[in-house]
Structures are given as structure tokens and as C-alpha cells.
């Protein structure tokens, strides 16, 4: 055969031509738990965006009966100030998601950057960066967040910064670990042999190939961030009243649990559902992005025999 003309040999072996992300998506939604999580998350996002419009009452609208038990008018009852708990839970979704998004965003960017630099450069820089991450990691996350809030003062913004800083080492570690293995891949060496610069190698080749663990970690961290926010608010160093936030509402309901159990139960359930949704989606993503899983599916497609 001649090298200078295209021949019949060049048709791809795998017929279906699908992008990697669509393949990931189809594996993800075929997982029932993950699908359930995705639905819950979808509802949450709707609540966060349109909470005020959907809620039957304002978040801080008062004037109802105090401590009213759940009824048709107030499906989750009312609280100590006569506010509708259902409306507050619905509107509180925004706070929770906002805290999750901002704090995970901070740790995602900072941790990925640190992890990329430490993993790719190696040597003393790696040692210094990762030892400082270890120190940060050694503090219990809530304690660290309290310390940061103690310095900056209690507010939702500071709570988000605190959670973001506290989560950074997790991302840094995950990214560094993945970078260390991807860095040794032959294709990285191949691109280097073409004369590619370090920046190009890191951004175009290493980053996309460590995306999978980062995505999984992001979804799991979202759950933890929401929990941490709830804990901080519960301790009084996070969201300040009267903002509707699930952790804060839980804290308010704690003292009156025998009088009005609904004040604590429903925000608690909301936290539980959200955290679980993020976790099952994270687990589903882990499976869907796992190259082993994918190769099993691919080999099913390509036939057998070695």
C-alpha cells in the first residue's frame, strides 16, 4: 500500500462517535441513585433561584400564629416569631447553595492551582507547599473555620472564605496526586518532545486529564461545605439572623424541640437531602469518569479476546 494516499484501512475501529462528556453523562444517568440525586439537585437550584416567587409567604413575613403545627396553610408549621417554616426552608436553599458554590469555588481554584504547581514542579516547592497544606489539614475543619471567623468577624461572607480556606488542602492533595501520575504519561513526554512549553503542557494536557477527580471532589465538597455552613451557623458564627439559613434554623429549633419539633426537623431534612444528593451524584460521577469503568463498556463494544 502507498503511504501517500488514504486507503480503506483508515476507518475508525469504533463506529459510534460520541464525545467523552456525553458518554459520561449517559453512564451517570443510567445509575438510579445518581439520577435521583440529580433530580433533587435540580429542584434545589430551582428553589434557590425562584424561592421568593414560589414560597407562599415571605421569608421574614410575621403575623402568623406562633409555633403552629404543620397544617395545610403552613405545611412545615411556623416558628417562634410566627414565620412560615416552609417558606424559610425554600428560600434558605439559596443561602446554602451560595455558601456551597462560593466556598467550594475558592478551594477549587486555590487547591487546583497549588496542586498543579506542586505536582508538576516537584522538588522543594512541592515539599514546602504540601507540608503547609498538611498543617492546614491537621486542624479540624470546623475549628479552623471558627478561628478564621473569629479573626474576620461573623458574617456569611467570612463563613464562605473560612470554609473555602479550610477545604483548599483537600483539593490540593487530590490534584497533586493525579498530576504526579499524569505527568509520567508517555503523551506528556511526547508533547514535550515537540517543544511544548510547561504552561501549555499543564493547561492543555495535564489539567483536562485530572479533571475527573476534581469534578468528583467538587461535588463531594459541596455537601461538606453545606454541612459546615450549617454547623457554623448553628454555632452562631456563620449566617446571622434573620437571614433564612438551614443551619441557623436548626439552631433556633434546637431549644424548642419538645415544643415545636417541626422547626428543627424540616431544615434538618433539607440539609440531609441536599448532602445526600451531592454525595450520590459524586459517587455516580466517580464511576462514570473512571477509565476502568469506561474501558469495560468500551470492550463490551469492541468485542473480546486478547
Amino acid at each position: 500500500m502507498s503511504a501517500t494516499e488514504a486507503t480503506a484501512d483508515d476507518r475508525p475501529v469504533v463506529d459510534e462517535h460520541r464525545s467523552q462528556w456525553r458518554q459520561t453523562w449517559s453512564i451517570l444517568v443510567s445509575n438510579r441513585m445518581a439520577l435521583f440525586g440529580l433530580v433533587v439537585l435540580g429542584l434545589l437550584v430551582v428553589a434557590a433561584l425562584l424561592g421568593e416567587l414560589l414560597a407562599p409567604h415571605g421569608a421574614n413575613a410575621q403575623g402568623f400564629e406562633f409555633y403552629a403545627a404543620p397544617s395545610l396553610d403552613h405545611p412545615f408549621g411556623t416558628d417562634n416569631l410566627g414565620r412560615d417554616v416552609f417558606s424559610r426552608v425554600l428560600i434558605g436553599a439559596r443561602t446554602s447553595l451560595q455558601v456551597g458554590a462560593v466556598s467550594v469555588g475558592i478551594s477549587l481554584v486555590a487547591g487546583t492551582l497549588l496542586g498543579l504547581v506542586a505536582g508538576y514542579r516537584g522538588g522543594w516547592l512541592d515539599a514546602v507547599l504540601m507540608r503547609s497544606m498538611d498543617v492546614l489539614f491537621a486542624f479540624p475543619i470546623v475549628l479552623l473555620a471558627i478561628a478564621i471567623v473569629a479573626v474576620l468577624g461573623p458574617s456569611i461572607t467570612n463563613a464562605m472564605i473560612a470554609i473555602g480556606v479550610a477545604f483548599t488542602p483537600i483539593f490540593a492533595r487530590v490534584v497533586r496526586g493525579s498530576v504526579l501520575s499524569v505527568r509520567e504519561e508517555v503523551f506528556v513526554r511526547a508533547v514535550r518532545s515537540l517543544g511544548a512549553s510547561d504552561v501549555r503542557i499543564v493547561l492543555r494536557h495535564i489539567l483536562p486529564n485530572v479533571a475527573a477527580p476534581i469534578i468528583v471532589q467538587t461535588s463531594l465538597s459541596f455537601a461538606f461545605a453545606i454541612l459546615t455552613e450549617a454547623a457554623l451557623s448553628f454555632l452562631g458564627v456563620g449566617v446571622q439572623p434573620p437571614t433564612p439559613a438551614w443551619g441557623l434554623m436548626l439552631q433556633e429549633g434546637r431549644g424548642v424541640i419538645d415544643l415545636a419539633w417541626w422547626m428543627g426537623l424540616f431544615p434538618g431534612l433539607a440539609i440531609f437531602l441536599t448532602v445526600m444528593a451531592f454525595n450520590v451524584v459524586g459517587d455516580g460521577l466517580r464511576d462514570a469518569l473512571d477509565p476502568k469503568q469506561r474501558s469495560i463498556i468500551e470492550s463490551r463494544g469492541q468485542g473480546v479476546d486478547a
Binding site: 500500500m1 486507503t7 480503506a8 484501512d9 475501529v13 463498556i297 463490551r300 463494544g301 468485542g303 473480546v304 479476546d305 486478547a306
Partner: protein, 360 residues
């Protein structure tokens, strides 16, 4: 000829997959006699490994399905229960796989892995099994065997590990040894040692060996009979001299022609086979090789499935699965006998004078 040790009749293996049923072994039949070496040659995806794994049902089922008959020692294996098969695997039929690192368990010393099968299958006591393990290790050429029983796989080199794997394959005195790409992961000088070892053991123990490989050079040295597999079928079967001297199937001719020949004078273009093997979930209706065949490709090739038939004017048992045979002049050019240069001068040559005078 005596009764065969192993007799395979119309063996089929299918795997269910999302894209349909992959028919990876399609009606393989052969007899294997004591002391004989049968080589199974083919490229990746030809079904050569699966067809031998399926003999003792060593494939995942489901998704796999095996049909046909495998007769061994007066019994039929395909219909046999898993428990009965376990008493045959490793006992009457031994296996040596390609990668010596993954076929040994890294967390157990090799002595334990060697004695396990003997104690289970042969009911030997711990000390008797140990004695026999030392014997086996010496047999496969591992020096200082008694002291190395407690060593772990990683403490051995690749060649030594493959010797251990062969010792395990032989430990229960099997009648049939199946070597699946047993030397592919090894260097040529190590490969030469292992091939030499298997030949010697075969002579001493009267083993029947099925040697699965893609390396036509190794086959030429070790095999008595050769079967060429393509797309799950035997496409050509012959004594080793007939196969290399007068190949008939276009695929065999193509394979032989694509080998660079050591010591060739003026290296020309190598023959290539264009295209790719067919998708096992969608086999072409006629001859499985016809889409790639450069020799002949007519309506009959496209529509009719060729049977495995005796080749024209050929040696005993030379069979080919095609309607048309490659004509003598073409196969003459492709057969390796015409291309191999004169005997390699390296072996047995006198060395320069200094050497023999030197102080050895």
C-alpha cells in the same frame, strides 16, 4: 495413530455485549496427541486465546457461552460441572500465561504457590509437596531451589518468574500444557532459554503442548503442527514444514510475507494485509477474509462460507478454508524458505584465534 489426548469438536464461543453477540470462536475442531506440539497462530482478536481458555471454561460466563464438545481422558468437558472441572484445571491440563508477574500472586512466596495445587490435586503432605517443589524448580533450571522456595515473585527476574510459572503448570504432571504467549513478554535470549526448557520437558515427560503465539519464528522452531486462526476460525492447518514451505490460504501467505527476514540481502517492501479483521458482532456472510483478500474476491467469496477442506496436492492433513488456493508461484515468493538467507553464521563458528588461546 494413537488416540488423541485431547479432542475438540466444533467449539463455539460467544459473548453477549451491548452491540450484539460477539461470535469469537466459530467452530474450531482438532485432535492433540501425546508428545505433540500444536501451535495456534493468529493476531490479536483471532480467538486463539479464548478458544483454549474455553476448553476448561476459564472464561466469564455469562456473558460468555460455550458450545461444542471437548473430549479429554474419556470425558466431555463442556457439559461438566464447575466442581468437576476444577479437578482437571491445573491437574490434567496445565496453563502458562503470558505475563509471569500477574500470573503469580505477589503476596505469597513461590513455594506456597507451587505446593498449593499439588496438595489439593495430588493430596500430598506438606513436606512431600515441598520436596517435589524443590525437584520441579531444579527441573526448570532455577539454581539453589531449596533456598528459593520462600522467596517472593518480585525477587525473581522476568525469565526466572516464567520458569516458576512453568513449574506450577507442570506441578501436577498434566497430560496437556497450554502455553498462552508464554514467551511474548520475555527478551529473545530469555525466550530461547524457555523454549529450550519446554522442549526438553516435553521429551522427558511426554507432554502434549498447545503453544499459542503470534510469533511465526517461535512456531517454526517448536511446533509439529500449526493451525492459523483468523476471525475465530481455523483458516489453515498443516504440518509445520508444509505450512511454511507451501502456504495456501491468502491470509497465511500475507502473514509470512509481512515478516522482515533476518539477513535478507536487499530489504524490499514488506507484504502487508490491508484493512482490519472483521467485527466479531458482524461477521461478513461469506469468507471472513474476503474484504481484505488481494488474491481473489468474487461472488462466491462474498456469499458462501468456505469449509475447511484438504488442500490440493499437499501433504497429509494440510487443510485450508478457502475456495481458491494461492498459486504456487505467488506462495513460492512469500514462503519464508526462499527468503531466509543462508544459515546464520553465528552458531558454531570458530572464534578468532585469541579466544582459544586465552586463559579460560
Amino acid at each position: 495413530m494413537s488416540d488423541p489426548v485431547l479432542s475438540v469438536r466444533d467449539l463455539h464461543v460467544r459473548f453477549g455485549s451491548k452491540r450484539g453477540v460477539a461470535h469469537v470462536v466459530r467452530g474450531v475442531s482438532y485432535d492433540l496427541h501425546a508428545g505433540e506440539t500444536l501451535a495456534l497462530v493468529g493476531e490479536s482478536g483471532s480467538g486463539k486465546s479464548v478458544s483454549t481458555l474455553a476448553l476448561t471454561k476459564l472464561i466469564p460466563m455469562p456473558p460468555g457461552r460455550i458450545d461444542g464438545e471437548v473430549h479429554f481422558g474419556g470425558r466431555e468437558l463442556v457439559a461438566m460441572s464447575e466442581a468437576e472441572l476444577r479437578s482437571i484445571r491445573g491437574n490434567d491440563i496445565g496453563f502458562v500465561f503470558q505475563d509471569p508477574m500477574t500470573s503469580l500472586n505477589p503476596v505469597h512466596p513461590i513455594g506456597r504457590q507451587l505446593t498449593e495445587g499439588m496438595r489439593h490435586h495430588l493430596g500430598l503432605s506438606a513436606s512431600a509437596a515441598r520436596d517435589r517443589a524443590v525437584e520441579l524448580l531444579s527441573l526448570v533450571g532455577i539454581p539453589d531451589a531449596a533456598n528459593r522456595l520462600d522467596a517472593y515473585p518480585h525477587q525473581f527476574s522476568g525469565g526466572m518468574r516464567q520458569r516458576v510459572v512453568i513449574a506450577i503448570g507442570l506441578s501436577c504432571e498434566p497430560k496437556v500444557l497450554i502455553a498462552d504467549e508464554a514467551t511474548t513478554a520475555l527478551d529473545v535470549t530469555t525466550q530461547a532459554q524457555i523454549v529450550d526448557l519446554v522442549e526438553r520437558l516435553q521429551e522427558e515427560l511426554g507432554l502434549a503442548v498447545v503453544w499459542i503465539t503470534h510469533d511465526l519464528g517461535v512456531v517454526a522452531g517448536i511446533a509439529d503442527r500449526v493451525m492459523v486462526m483468523y476471525a475465530g476460525e481455523i483458516v489453515e492447518e498443516a504440518d509445520v514444514d508444509d505450512l511454511y514451505g507451501s502456504p495456501r490460504h491468502p491470509y497465511t501467505v500475507g502473514l509470512l510475507g509481512s515478516l522482515p527476514v533476518l539477513g535478507a540481502d536487499e530489504p524490499g517492501e514488506l507484504t502487508t494485509i490491508h484493512g482490519l479483521p472483521p467485527d466479531p458482532t458482524a461477521m461478513p456472510p461469506g469468507c471472513a477474509f474476503h474484504p481484505r483478500c488481494e488474491f481473489r474476491d468474487d461472488d462466491r467469496c462474498r456469499d458462501e462460507h468456505p469449509p475447511l477442506r484438504d488442500a490440493d496436492d499437499a501433504g497429509d492433513g494440510h487443510r485450508v478454508r478457502s475456495f481458491y488456493e494461492v498459486p504456487a508461484d505467488v506462495r513460492e515468493a512469500a514462503s519464508t524458505s526462499s527468503q531466509v538467507a543462508e544459515a546464520p553464521p553465528n552458531a558454531g563458528d570458530p572464534l578468532p584465534a585469541e579466544a582459544s588461546e586465552g586463559d579460560r
